[in-house]
Structure formats: structure tokens, C-alpha cells
């Protein structure tokens, strides 16, 4: 079986088949981050496509100083944050309803194996994450849902590990407070 470094090297030289192998390996990560950062199916798909196409175009310049996964995580996070920030600055009242909303039908069609509580958990999560600022939202998704280490998150968000820890602690505290409020309000 070909090593990832070899696959990356071939993709870097323009081998579309090698890039397809990388896509298969990382599509779930990119999709999950894109979806949890927007909770809009179409936008998440555009975003995920944007991430992979950007990676393909930038691959010739990939020096291999960091792991390919870290490099791709960073592209994913940057694209997601840029999207959220641009949406925040150019937000229209009506547009916000399109985001942070779990389409039940689409969700079940995409995830037929999902367990009974998954849809409800996703709905609650979407409401909570919508209230976090983009940077905190990103570290929560990367750590609590994707299970990345602090070091991996630091690489993906281009901040120090200490910053990741503090950002995560604040995000969790904020989410806990929001969850309590949500429960109280029914």
C-alpha cells in the first residue's frame, strides 16, 4: 500500500488519481467541519468543494514541512472562518434563517445509519454553535466532534497550543451556560 507521503507527492505532480485517494481519505473530516460550521447543506457542500479545489491548486507549493493532514485542516478552517466572517459582516436578516438549521429529511437521507438521538442532538448542537463566535466554534468542532489533539488544532488554526486551551475552555463555559438557558426555556 502506498504511503501518504508518496500519494501527496504524486498529487503534487498533477496526478488526479492520487488526489482522488486523498479526497477519499479526508472527505469526512472536511465535510463534518464544513457542515458544523454552517449547518446549511448547500453551503457546506460549496465550502467543502472549495477546500479541496483550493488544496489541489495549492499542492505544487506544499513543501511538506507540516503533515498533509495539518495543511488540509488549516485550509478547511481558514475557508470556514472566512465564510462565517464575511457572512457576519454582510448579513441579511432573512439569510441567517438559512444557516444553523438541520434539515431533518436531508440529514436522515445522508445518514441513514444515524442512531435515534442523533438528529435531536444535531439540532441542539446547531442552535448552540450558532451563538459562538467563529473562532470558538471552530475549536469546539475540531476538538469535541472531530477529536483532534490540541497540537493538531494549533496547527489547523495557526495559534499557540496555550491559546487553543484557553479558547476551548471559554467556548465550553459559554456553551454550558447557553445549554442551561436553553433547557430552562424549554
Amino acid at each position: 500500500m502506498m504511503s501518504e507521503a508518496r500519494i501527496v507527492d504524486r498529487a503534487r505532480q498533477g496526478d488526479a488519481k492520487a488526489f482522488e485517494a486523498l479526497f477519499e481519505r479526508y472527505k469526512q473530516f472536511v465535510w463534518n467541519v464544513a457542515y458544523r460550521m454552517t449547518y446549511n447543506f448547500e453551503t457546506a457542500e460549496d465550502l467543502a468543494q472549495d477546500v479541496f479545489v483550493a488544496a489541489w491548486k495549492a499542492l505544487p507549493g506544499f513543501k511538506g514541512d507540516a503533515a498533509f493532514s495539518t495543511w488540509l485542516y488549516r485550509i478547511t478552517v481558514n475557508k470556514s472562518l472566512n465564510l462565517l466572517r464575511s457572512r457576519a459582516t454582510a448579513a441579511h436578516e432573512g439569510d441567517e434563517a438559512l444557516y444553523n438549521h438541520v434539515d431533518a429529511e436531508m440529514f436522515m437521507r445522508q445518514n441513514p445509519e444515524a442512531h435515534a438521538g442523533a438528529l435531536e442532538a444535531e439540532r441542539q448542537l446547531s442552535k448552540l454553535l450558532a451563538k459562538l463566535d467563529p473562532d470558538r466554534r471552530a475549536v469546539i468542532v475540531l476538538r469535541e466532534i472531530e477529536g483532534l489533539s490540541y497540537e493538531q488544532i494549533a496547527g489547523a488554526t495557526d495559534v499557540a497550543v496555550g491559546t487553543v486551551r484557553s479558547r476551548l475552555a471559554r467556548a465550553r463555559a459559554e456553551l454550558t451556560k447557553l445549554a442551561a438557558e436553553m433547557e430552562m426555556n424549554g
Partner: protein
């Protein structure tokens, strides 16, 4: 619901099948990205990679070691020793020097005499020619016009 329960229940979602189609269509369209490195670039990377560089350096060191192993230090000559063993350079003789001066200065003298003759319609020698030129310069710039 507690936060940790929420995270536990949230599961990793499957990427839609249409995503692959969209990405790969774009990739194929852009194929041959800026990226295919030229042959020189590939060769450079190949030779710079440590996997190749280290054995190459080891091989070069081995060749040098073999080359000098059979030669005791006494046989290695310094530049001065090598120069001393060269045959002595030819020293100029008096006759050669005279011939050299005659060949080098002779044409100058003949040329100057020729110029003087051309002006005065009479044979002249170099001292008369130069003296005449100096007098003319003196006359034009100093004496009579001062």
C-alpha cells in the same frame, strides 16, 4: 441535555456523494495544475533528498580515500618543489636584446624621418624633426604671441 452527552451523540456524518463528483470534475478540468515540476526541478529534488545525498557523499569519500591510500606523504610535491624541478628558463643574451631594441624602435625612427622629409623636401633625422616641432609650438604659444 448535558454538553458532553450532546457531543457524544453527535456523530461523524457521511459526506454527500455529489461532493466527490463536484470536486473531481473541477480537478480534472484544472488538471496539469501549475504544478507539474519541470524535469530539472525533479532532478534537483532527487539529488537534494538525503536518501540520495548521503550515499553519494559516502561514495565520494571512499573514492578519495582509495585515491590517496597508496601514496605516502613524501611523494606529494608542493608547488615550489614542482617548480624547482622544471628546466631553467632561457636567459636573454646581449645579441637578442640588441635585436629586440632594433626591431622595436627602428620603425619609429624611420617613420619620424619620413614625416619630416615630407614637410621639408629634404632628408632629416629624428632630433632635427623633434626640435623643429618644439620650436613651432614655442612660437605659437609663447614667445612671439605673448
Amino acid at each position: 441535555m448535558k454538553l458532553d452527552d450532546l457531543f457524544d451523540k453527535a456523530q461523524r456524518l457521511e459526506a454527500p456523494g455529489s461532493l466527490k463528483e463536484r470536486v473531481m470534475n473541477q480537478v480534472v478540468k484544472d488538471a496539469a495544475p501549475a504544478g507539474i515540476p519541470p524535469l530539472a526541478g525533479r532532478l534537483e529534488r532527487f539529488f537534494l533528498s538525503w536518501r540520495v545525498a548521503v550515499p553519494l557523499a559516502a561514495a565520494a569519500a571512499l573514492v578519495l580515500a582509495v585515491q590517496f591510500a597508496g601514496r605516502p606523504a613524501g611523494e606529494v610535491k608542493t608547488a615550489r618543489q614542482a617548480a624547482q624541478q622544471q628546466p631553467a628558463a632561457e636567459s636573454p643574451s646581449q645579441a637578442n636584446m640588441g635585436e629586440f631594441i632594433y626591431e622595436t624602435l627602428g620603425p619609429v625612427y624611420e617613420f619620424a624621418s619620413g614625416q619630416a622629409a615630407a614637410f621639408d623636401d629634404e632628408p632629416d633625422d629624428i632630433s632635427q624633426f623633434v626640435s623643429k616641432q618644439l620650436k613651432e609650438i614655442y612660437w605659437l604659444n609663447g614667445d612671439n604671441n605673448a
